[in-house]
């Protein structure tokens, strides 16, 4: 399996605090990966680096078969390269309808002039309908997304990411604040998405990670502590120590 994203030897320091310490991470195409770790392990900072929000002090972030470096690109450019990011808190455009949110996310030219002259084609609208069906919001298309429930907003945001047709999806705690039934639906959406693209899920709910049934990377103090199946990492003495310490 070819490598889609390769992060190697990355370090970043905030005011003397080493948030990420010589971190290396790889993910292939069509792979699901869970990243777990205690608070402050550097999970969110890791995402910030990959999506261009934070610039590392050292290290490399290499993307795709052409092996281009993501460092030095801005967030919008990286997103256009095919990396989608879901935030911890559901972030959708609350004053706009579900349909408008999805239309905005559809993979189309992002330049201002192209957007100015854009009119949704029937194919685009059909695609939006498909996405809405996938995330279970078919009946909510014309609703203002601010009126949706917490779980529905989370799905809408995932739907917007899927609409972008990214090759890599970074998902930050998708199940936070969800009911058990909603969690199950979220798992299904993510597992389905991982069939055709790489998905990285940051989570500290072990039960949810178990259900994803995928390779797990454990972060601790900004570096990889262990990697492997969930059973493998939970048996690891270092991991047990870190989690029991708390």
């Amino acid at each position: 399996m070819s490598t889609l994203l390769e992060v190697s030897g990355v370090s970043v320091t905030f005011d003397g605090f080493r948030a990420i310490n010589n971190l290396s991470f790889q993910i292939g195409e069509a792979e699901m990966r869970a990243v777990i770790g205690p608070n402050g392990a550097g999970k969110t900072t890791f995402m910030d680096i990959v999506t261009g929000k934070t610039r590392p002090d050292e290290g490399r972030v290499i993307w795709g078969e052409k092996s281009i470096s993501l460092l030095g690109m801005n967030e919008a450019r990286i997103a256009q390269e095919g990396i989608g990011r879901k935030f911890q808190k559901p972030t959708v455009f609350e004053e706009q309808t579900v349909q408008e949110n999805l239309l905005m996310a559809l993979k189309k030219p992002r330049g201002w002039f192209a957007v100015l002259t854009y009119r949704p084609s029937d194919a685009d609208l059909a695609k939006v309908d498909d996405l809405a069906a996938q995330i279970g919001l078919t009946d909510q298309l014309t609703r203002t997304s601010g009126e949706l429930s917490h779980g529905q907003k989370q799905w809408l945001e995932i739907g917007m990411l899927l609409a972008q047709e990214p090759r890599l999806l970074l998902v930050d705690e998708p199940a936070a604040g969800m009911t058990p039934a909603e969690r199950e639906h979220t798992t299904d959406i993510l597992v389905e998405a991982a069939k055709t693209r790489a998905v990285v899920v940051v989570e500290h709910d072990m039960e949810f990670v178990r259900r994803l049934n995928c390779k797990v990377t454990v972060l601790h103090e900004g570096a990889v502590l262990a990697e492997g199946s969930l059973d493998h990492v939970t048996a690891d003495q270092n991991v047990i120590d870190v989690y029991l310490e708390r």
């Binding site: 450019r77 997103a79 706009q96 992002r110 330049g111 100015l116 609208l125 298309l141 972008q164």
Partner: protein, 393 residues
């Protein structure tokens, strides 16, 4: 789900109809073409008000829709006025000079004519040489182009620097205030080339036109109405499509827009520059009706008033901006023009010329606290009620 532009923007047709009706009514009541119920000076006031409505639209686009509280758009308004003012003043002075030298025994040379014009225009600041920036003042075409180019370029450079460094929120507002203050202070200088604090005057006289102000005022009134109508349609078109979705997205959640792949800085720059150009057109129509422009017009307070109009009218809805600008600026004219009757409280007499600003400030605070959607919000309530009624039937 695909709807036409008009179906998405029912306010456009209503607005254009009201504007057309208003224009017709004023024309019929005018002294130039109608029965003469409205004085020429009041027609100028109305025409100027339409220009203020146009810049309020620009303000709504950048503040209400994109979420950038620019407190410097009157700089662009003023620059637009200066650019057209240069031609008006030059050409009119030239005609007067040529006229007065026509009967001279020796026909004047071109150099003498230019010198005489320079003397007339720059005498007040103790100079007679044309500064470099007047190089194109003899060409109406070029000065009209400069109405857009100069403010547009200033906005482009300023915006590029500010947005590239991701200056947002109140910091950006302060920067825009600094920009308009710096420009005003520069223009106040006598050697700025634009006659310092005297500004440009006599702009109400169109060179070579012998028609009386009764007619000229109406021409500008019509032009202002046409510009406002066109501006309204343009703004409605901009905000109703996907572009509108994106800029509102930037307003509500900049990070989300960025991670969706939209270059937030570019969009902000486009909107900033575009609204600067709209403001410039409004200014270029306003000052020939005002007759005079001086640097005090672009003092920081002017741009703050603009924000107050849009807030009172209701930002994020185009008609709100128009209502706010028309309502507040006309009231302001009434109160500060000495027409409002003084209120005698016995121990104190409220003179509105002094107290109008207090009233305005108070209403701004009240609107912000209790009716954040402004006057336009009332229209929303009414139309929502009607929609609910139709839905229940």
């Amino acid at each position: 789900m695909q709807r036409s532009f008009i179906a998405k923007n029912p306010s456009v047709l209503i607005f254009l109809a009201i504007l057309a009706l208003f224009t017709l009514l004023v024309t019929v009541m005018s002294e130039g073409f109608g029965v003469g119920g409205i004085s020429t000076s009041f027609i100028k006031t109305l025409g100027k008000t339409l220009c203020l409505c146009l810049i309020a639209l620009a303000m709504d686009l950048i503040w209400g829709y994109t979420g950038i509280l620019s407190l410097g758009h009157f700089a662009f308004f003023g620059l637009g006025g200066y650019m057209i003012g240069m031609w008006l003043m030059y050409e009119r002075t030239r005609l007067i000079v040529v006229d007065s030298l026509a009967n001279a025994e020796i026909p004047p040379t071109d150099g003498e004519v230019i010198d005489a014009i320079g003397n007339q225009i720059f005498g007040v600041v103790g100079s007679s040489d044309f500064p470099l920036i007047w190089a194109f003042a003899d060409s109406l075409t070029i000065q009209l182009a400069l109405v857009l180019l100069v403010p547009g370029l200033l906005a482009l450079i300023f915006g590029w620097l500010a947005f590239r460094s991701r200056v947002t929120g109140v910091y950006l507002s302060i920067l825009t205030q600094a920009m308009t203050l710096a420009l005003a202070l520069y223009l106040f200088q006598n050697d700025s080339g634009l006659r310092g604090n005297n500004g440009l005057s006599g702009l109400q006289n169109l060179p070579g036109v012998t028609a009386s102000q009764d007619y000229v005022s109406l021409w500008f009134f019509w032009a202002s109405a046409a510009a406002l109508g066109a501006g309204y349609v343009l703004c409605a078109w901009l905000v109703s499509g996907k572009f509108g979705s994106v800029i509102r997205g930037i307003r509500d959640n900049e990070a989300r827009a960025r991670f969706l792949g939209y270059s937030v800085e570019t969009y902000k720059l486009v909107i900033f520059t575009l609204t600067a150009c709209i403001a410039a057109i409004a200014g270029a129509l306003y000052y020939p009706q005002a007759g005079i422009i001086n640097p005090a017009e672009i003092a920081p307070i002017a741009s703050i008033y603009l924000a107050v109009w849009v807030a009172i009218g209701g930002r994020g809805r185009l008609y709100g901006a128009v209502i706010g600008a028309a309502f507040v600026s006309l009231l302001s004219t009434w109160f500060t023009g000495g027409q409002a009757p003084d209120v005698n409280l016995g121990f104190y007499t409220i003179k509105w010329v002094d107290w109008w600003l207090v009233l305005l400030g108070l209403s701004f605070v009240l609107v912000t606290l209790f009716a954040p959607k402004g006057i336009g919000g009332l229209i929303d309530i009414l139309s929502d009620r009607r929609a609910a009624k139709e839905a229940s039937q």
